[in-house]
Symmetry: C2
Subunit: 335 residues, 2 copies
């Protein structure tokens, strides 16, 4: 590895001068700078990243807290797309992404791990904010951070407009003539609560009485749970004519339940999802759903962190990204 010293020797200047030339300092003659830079290029010089960071404390490294095990992580299309967008934005600004692990041997907390690597920012996504220790500590630390699908006034958060997402979807069901519209929602989180609020308000707005039997808890990204809840719903004395499920992926569970009960979608029962994953149009029938703009969410998260690093601040914005109703064929018009 060629070092500053090597270049200095070759050029007959001091190490300090080389450093300045390479860092494009004003504090050095134009000609010398040219000469030194040319030599550095010739020798294939690459700065020693660790030496530089030791001095500058600038690691150019962003941490990702992303639970790929319990929450289906990478397999979860919505979060994966957020991560992709985030990564793209970060890398085009010369930041690298490192996963934050809770280090088993050294028994580090997330925050210790982040400080250890001098992470300059942190993205938290696809994680159980409510049942896992250390996540909120990390987010509330001095490190610029943004949480996806969470709300707080102590750090930045980016999430979809879940209220209007469910409001417009439920309203759409009504407009298609349905009255008995069920909602299998996910575990209780702020996201879920917003969706439930949107669901309930749609009933109010349309002056339709809400049947509490139709509002039941399922589980995000669980085909099995959706399958069970779907069966329960269908076996009700007055089953719903339309059910909104936790997310698109759960459609497989809903399909299976309907199929086993001899019900055809959308003729006997209408179904809607949430997310608009890539395969949503390929379900049979094509799935009506609410699109979450994962790309914009990831990009926005990156921009917040980049801004905070640049300005040496720690912002605490709560940014809501619009959702969009995507009408396809899984909700039948009835009269």
């Amino acid at each position: 590895m060629v070092t500053l010293k090597d270049i200095a020797l070759k050029c007959g200047v001091s190490v300090g001068a080389v450093s300045k030339a390479l860092n494009d300092s004003h504090d050095i003659g134009v000609e010398t700078k040219q000469y030194i830079r040319e030599m550095a290029r010739k020798l294939g010089y690459r700065p020693n990243f660790y030496a530089r960071t030791l001095k500058t404390n600038h690691s150019y490294n962003i941490g990702i807290l992303f639970d790929d095990a319990t929450n289906n992580g990478f397999g979860h299309a919505f979060f994966s797309n957020i991560l992709s967008a985030f990564r793209g934005e970060m890398e085009s600004n010369d930041y690298d992404l490192t996963f934050i692990a809770r280090n088993s041997k050294i028994d580090e907390s997330y925050i210790e791990h982040a400080r250890h690597r001098r992470l300059e920012g942190v993205l938290v996504a696809c994680v159980d904010y409510y049942n896992e220790d250390g996540i909120i500590d990390l987010l509330e630390s001095e490190i610029p951070s943004v949480a996806i699908d969470y709300m707080s006034d102590k750090f930045s958060c980016v999430y979809s407009d879940n209220y209007n997402g469910l409001m417009s979807l439920t309203s759409h069901c009504f407009e298609m003539g349905h009255r008995n519209v069920a909602f299998i929602h996910g575990q209780h989180t702020c996201v879920t609560d917003e969706r439930i609020r949107g669901y309930k308000d749609a009933f109010k707005k349309h002056n339709i009485p809400l049947n509490e039997e139709y509002l039941i808890e399922g589980e995000y990204y669980s085909i099995e749970t959706t399958y069970k809840r779907m069966k329960q719903l269908i076996q009700l004395p007055v089953p719903p004519s339309c059910v909104i499920i936790t997310d698109d992926y759960c459609m497989f569970g809903a399909q299976k339940a309907a199929y086993e009960m001899g019900l055809s979608i959308p003729w006997h029962i209408s179904i809607a999802g949430y997310d608009d994953i890539k395969i949503a149009p390929y379900f049979s029938p094509p799935l009506t759903t609410v699109r979450q703009d994962a790309f914009l969410i990831g990009k926005t998260a990156a921009e917040i962190i980049l801004y905070d690093i640049e300005n040496k601040t720690k912002s605490a914005h709560n940014i809501e990204i619009p959702t969009q109703l995507i009408q396809r064929g899984s909700i039948r018009k009835i009269s």
Copy 2:
């Protein structure tokens, strides 16, 4: 941040002594060691990672080359699962994972990026080995590395037993009574070539003449391409009774084509996939496929790198992971 110096001052010993105590050196008295360690704990000391790496060149960081944009990256269940398994194994050995970016601004190659961060190992997966510069350079570098779904004698590779995967799947089609078995394979790669070899050998083994019209090129992970190829196949003068598609995900394209041509699976046409993704059992009918053991692949890759780091070597093993035929309902028995 508390440093060695702070501890040394508090304990009335030298910085060197503190370093030795904390690194559990033999070269120091047991009592002093205890005392120093206790003090370090009290002060909440955390070593400065960058200072240490500057001295030791030990970054505890593994690079991941993973193209999540063009190749569907995280969305690709098979590769995502490999990455998860790899990550788990690495993290339980105290290594972190960082994405390797081709840095736009600084115009770094992959290998430069890897050296820049002093990455101690590299995993390459989900990448176009054949059309992208720098990947092979990186793999052939001095850095311990393993490539997924590639073969080489210059670095380690881990891949599924694709030959037997397709051999057993094709044979299974024959055993179910099919003779006109088509194969929409992916782009030409060593993986694809092995699968084609397995496909062809199955015909030989069973003494069934192979119709070249049934062996056509599609595209991995492309619903659209599969849709088109499927239509072509169905429109043949003598269409196949069974078609093996590139991967399970492509089933959506195959389904759509069959549906549009008024063909029902498996009654009019049988279909098989490859991968055994999580949703494979939930297709209608449940998909017959070949399981790739993504978990074992990822874990094996990690073990190789860990071994190389430990032993300061660079191995070049080519390890084949067994595949398993998973029979479900998408291939109909005919006579």
